[in-house]
């Protein structure tokens, strides 16, 4: 067992994790930040579009520029970063943690406080031949294209018209690919209309109530067959259409990456509005296990802007428990963040989240 000089472990260096580190280091708290990627920022490092929100949440700033801005907030002397490293287990009752450092060696640490900010992973859907080379998740396409400068294909079929599907379609156009069609199984577009408008006016056809039936090809994708759906989501016979594409990009939702929390013994709860199975948490972002906090998409799929606030809340609540800041100062900052969170969720797109949070608050594991 390694004797640690760290006060807090933050798992995941995306928007939630970095904001947690910012608040913790501001209070003079020593943090170990473990991130699986080679650079910090999580999904932000591939978000080439400008963010919505308000100025204090980096609205109008491109996602790729936000990690640097967040790191400027962090006191480097107080944060130790293990990049390209993974937390492989959290063991109760003492929160012993195994870290696979640098993909080379395993270290064991123990922490009184842990913030899980592991984000979410992409969903997959079932269709014939969905294992053919040339079928990607939208996140993988973004990583290849925006992070490594590799174009995944020339002619694309995009599946899913949520914000990610719409944004990645636009980024594919920017990269010089042709998005031949965007299909969405629901009867209407799920993402923001402004994102849909900007690809439709550039000539990408969007077809709602349509899903993918199968991918065509033997060695790799050569095409796809789509089919229309009726109001009960049943396939309408005779509406099959073949489309010639070399790449199929799936953008069919995200699921919280909550496995570490389960491992640590955190109680889970199923809340559809927050992305399915999630660890229970209170309004301080603390799970049912004393000292383990959770923030960002790992506890409910939402936006980077709300993940950042949740990260700050988790950090501030730990600072409060550790008495590193006066209770009054802590409470003021916490209230400010809770108010911003409410504001972000107050529009029609926040209704689903608000309903999910209501269900969460209806249950207590404290």
């Amino acid at each position: 067992m390694k004797t640690d000089s760290f006060d807090v472990l933050v798992i995941g260096g995306g928007p939630a994790g970095l904001c947690a580190c910012a608040e913790l280091s501001r209070c003079g708290i020593k943090v170990l930040l473990v991130d699986e990627g080679p650079v910090l920022g999580g999904q932000l490092v591939k978000q080439t579009h400008k963010f919505f929100g308000s100025r204090e949440h980096y609205a109008g700033v491109r996602g790729i520029e936000i990690p640097d801005k967040l790191q400027e907030e962090i006191d480097e002397k107080l944060i130790t970063v293990y990049s390209s490293s993974t937390v492989v287990g959290i063991y109760p009752p003492n929160n012993n943690v195994l870290i696979y450092r640098d993909q080379k060696k395993v270290e064991e640490h123990s922490f009184k406080y842990i913030i899980i900010a592991t984000g979410a992973s992409e969903n997959m859907i079932l269709f014939e031949n969905n294992d053919l080379p040339g079928i990607y998740g939208a996140g993988a396409v973004q990583t290849l294209m925006n992070q490594y400068g590799i174009i995944p294909g020339k002619n694309m079929l995009m599946v899913g018209a949520g914000n990610i599907g719409l944004i990645v379609s636009y980024q594919l156009l920017q990269a010089g690919c042709r998005v031949k069609k965007l299909i969405e199984a629901a009867p209407s577009i799920g993402g923001y209309l402004v994102h849909a408008s900007k690809i439709i006016r550039m000539g990408i056809p969007v077809q709602t109530s349509t899903t993918i039936l199968k991918a065509i090809g033997t060695e790799k994708v050569e095409g796809a067959i789509t089919v229309k759906l009726d109001e009960n989501w049943n396939q309408i016979e005779g509406t099959e259409e073949e489309i010639e594409v070399d790449t199929i990009c799936l953008s069919v939702g995200l699921a919280p990456s909550y496995k570490l929390a389960v491992h640590a013994g955190c109680k889970q709860i199923f809340i559809r509005e927050l992305g399915g199975m999630i660890p229970w948490r209170n309004s301080s972002q603390e799970t049912s296990v004393n000292g383990i906090y959770i923030a960002g998409d790992a506890c409910g799929v939402e936006e980077a802007s709300s993940a950042m606030i949740e990260g700050r809340l988790a950090g501030l609540n730990i600072a409060k428990c550790m008495k590193r800041l006066s209770e009054k100062a802590c409470n003021e900052k916490i209230d400010d963040n809770l108010i911003s969170l409410d504001k972000l969720r107050s529009g029609p797109f926040g209704e689903r989240i608000v309903e999910g949070i209501r269900k969460l608050e209806g249950k207590s594991y404290e």
Binding site: G53, L173, I189, H195, R201, G203, S346, G347, P348
Partner: protein
């Protein structure tokens, strides 16, 4: 929100509403923004970036922006700051044409004098025109202006540059 709009996913200018277009006598005087933001989402960079305070979202960040055209200096900063690329600028000229300025994030950038097909919000070609100016902006949402016949100023929202 009209469900029909969410179903088709784009806006016809009628969906935007006449009241969100500046009056024609105003855009004969100066270029003015058309803010095609009709959906309540938490966002306000148009308001915070406007140097004249002409655009107001207000206390609730989900509210829709409103532009006070008399304060607007036609600087175009809002075009480049809107994360939704939903702000355009229009100006009617004396010779019966319209200059439309659109946010541009596609490379290579067009050049002045390039001919283009004017596409409507559905991506259909409805007219032809010529690029009149390119303003390069360092945060990479540039402003490209193109001239089309005045009758199309409410509808052309993308320029498909013709091969030279």
């Amino acid at each position: 929100m009209n469900n029909d709009i969410r179903k088709k996913g784009y806006l016809h200018y009628r969906d935007i509403g006449e009241s969100r277009f500046p009056a024609e006598e105003l855009i004969k005087e100066k270029a003015l923004p058309v803010i095609e933001c009709i959906e309540r989402i938490p966002c306000n960079p148009c308001e915070t970036s406007c140097p004249k305070g002409a655009i107001v979202v207000g206390e609730n960040i989900n509210d829709l922006p409103v532009c006070n055209y008399s304060l607007c200096s036609s600087c175009g900063i809002c075009i480049t700051r809107c994360p939704g690329l939903a702000i355009f600028m229009v100006k009617l000229t004396e010779k019966g044409s319209a200059v439309i300025s659109i946010p541009w994030e596609i490379y290579p950038l067009p050049e002045k004098g390039d001919r283009f097909e004017g596409l409507d919000r559905l991506g259909n070609k409805i007219c032809e025109g010529e690029i009149t100016s390119i303003r390069k902006i360092n945060h990479k949402t540039h402003i490209v202006s193109g001239e089309v016949s005045a009758e199309f100023y409410k509808e052309v929202r993308h320029f498909k540059i013709k091969n030279k």
